[in-house]
Symmetry: C2
Subunit: 346 residues, 2 copies
DNA sequence: GACAGCCGTGGAAGCGCTTCCACGGCACCG
DNA sequence: CGGTGCCGTGGAAGCGCTTCCACGGCTGTC
């Protein structure tokens, strides 16, 4: 392993001077700089990141805490994060979270500047005690798709208005003439405390109420965030027979696919017999022709990473930014008027 | 920041003893150990990973080089890697690769033990010069879905037999009675040197030849690994009119979706008018009912990570392991007999 | 022509840990 | 009862870097 001392020896200078060259200090004459650079080149020298980190008190690393397995949308967000971080000198350390234990372990390990210079947390609201320790340690934290606990500060948040998203979807269905609109989302008491689904459900309820449409408990179903569960819950909805919904708003596209699967399996047609709206607009949604509330997943990742880099860049950063990204209704072919209207028209 | 010296002072011992406790050295009496552990607990002490790494010459980190954006299958593999690494004490540093420049930068940065203790490289055959430097630096490398350049050694490879996979798909179509079978895959000259598609094509060609079926150049199409391109290429195939294929073997499910899209848009039915086989069995494939050659993506990630951990565990590792994971034909609803046969039967 | 000041540089200290070496104390042996 | 050996421990050295301090030599000024 070639070290800074080797370079110094070869260039006939002191180690300090080599270090200055490495760190673009203006305190080095052009001639010396050239000699040092030549030596570096010749020896193919690369500074040891751990030594550098130990000495400077930071590690040029960003920790990304992400529920990588649970949501398809996390991947697309992560892509954005990776893309943005690629433009920087920071390495990305990935921490997957599947359970609260998992999460707490990671946060406990990360609450010091020696592990990561900054933290990007996706979809999980971190315990405020951890947030405080992080702040005390001078580690900026950016929350993506999550809001900080009350009276806790983070460097930045990047979110969308999920309540509004729920309104958009529900309003679309109401406007088409639906009244028996079901909602299918995550368990509100999910262990990791994801709230998107809950908020989308709030938007759904509020919109129905505002329109004077009764919110029927039997039309609201919950379950783990996977296609298979969504399918089963939809089968339950369809089993309501005559009382079955004419439309389903699923809290995510993944779940919407489960809905479509169940509907298809029941021999019903979409959107003639039943309309389906999803949320996210993941890659396959356009293939499937799913009507959905689009959120800019990739862009949100980029934005969050950019905010983190900003916080990392400005030394005594203390400004808190808050980005709210827009939602769009993408109307494709899984929504249409309810069956009675179709019949009426036909 | 509480350091090892603080703990030592509090416990009334030397720093060396604290270190021994941290590293489970048997050279510490039970009483002393207890006192030290109490001090650690009380101060909520956590060792600084950089200091530790600098001192021990390794960083408890695994580098994962992955073309994260280009292939859907990479994500599922990465999930397996993450899951396996979760069981270890190693952190995962993610290096995305989109271009050769990208790749070379990362490898250049990684060819030393101070950045990552081990490397897991996905789908990319690394330049053998880098591999040699890595070996010289004592950094074990595991190749997942890639084979090492000739006369280069890596700690392990985890692969599937893509040629065989091409055979399986093609044979399935031949057995159904197809003869005009198209192939749609990646550009053979893709900049990052992915070979899966090329090998699947080889299997396709070999199987046709073995069956005495002419390999027609106009039925073989290439393009970037995205749905939209696949769709366009398929449109070209369909434009062959009477000479159009009765079946298409796509080198990946992503591309197969593009094929299905084009077929559907052309008003043709699957599998009545045209059969489609994909490769990978990604999540959506079961939803779409795509017949495909399944490869255990998640499992391959786990396996590769496990092999890397093994190599990392055994000090003077020199054994080279080579895992070849099985492929399965998953017959769903996008393949059937060619149209004339259907007619013949009906 | 002497002095102040600045620029460029060398080198030591220190980041927080591991590990090696040395040493004191004890048990055991002859 | 003295010597040998081992166990448990303290402490220093060293990992490779950054940074601070000090210093030599130059320029510029009165």
């Amino acid at each position: 392993m070639v070290t800074i001392a080797d370079v110094a020896a070869k260039a006939g200078v002191g180690a300090g001077t080599v270090s200055r060259v490495l760190n673009d200090s203006p305190q080095v004459s052009a001639a010396t700089r050239a000699r040092v650079l030549a030596a570096i080149e010749e020896l193919d020298y690369r500074p040891n990141p751990m030594a550098r980190g130990l000495s400077r008190g930071r590690c040029q690393t960003v920790g990304v805490v992400v529920p990588f397995f649970t949501h398809a949308s996390a991947v697309e967000r992560l892509r954005g994060v990776v893309a943005e971080l690629d433009t920087s000198r920071y390495d990305l350390v990935l921490f997957n979270v599947e359970s609260p234990v998992h999460r707490d372990e990671h946060f406990a390990a990360l609450t010091r500047r020696d592990r990561a210079d900054g933290l990007l947390v996706m979809s999980l609201p971190p315990p405020s005690s951890d947030l405080e320790r992080l702040a005390a340690a001078g580690v900026p934290v950016v929350l993506l798709d999550a809001r900080p606990p009350e009276d806790t500060q983070v460097a930045a948040t990047v979110v969308t208005d999920d309540v509004e998203g729920g309104r958009i979807a529900t309003h679309h269905l109401l406007a088409l003439g639906h009244e028996r609109i079901a909602f299918l989302g995550d368990d509100p008491a999910n262990p990791l405390g994801f709230v998107s689904s809950v908020e989308r459900e709030q938007g759904y309820r509020a919109t129905l109420e505002a329109a004077g449409v009764e919110v029927r408990p039997e039309l609201i179903r919950h379950g783990p965030h996977v296609r298979s569960t969504a399918r089963r819950r939809t089968e339950e909805l369809l089993a309501l027979r005559a009382d079955r919904p004419t439309a389903v708003f699923a809290a995510s596209d993944t779940q919407a696919l489960g809905v479509l699967e169940a509907v298809r399996a029941a021999g019903l047609r979409v959107p003639d017999d039943i309309s389906v709206v999803g949320f996210d607009d993941i890659e396959v949604s356009s293939y499937v022709g799913l009507t959905t509330v689009r959120q800019p997943l990739y862009e949100s990742g980029r934005r969050a990473a950019a905010r983190l880099l900003e916080a990392l860049g400005t030394e005594g950063h203390d400004g808190t930014t808050h980005d709210e990204l827009d939602l769009d209704l993408i109307v494709r072919s899984t929504t249409g008027p309810p069956p009675d209207r179709v019949r009426g028209r036909g």
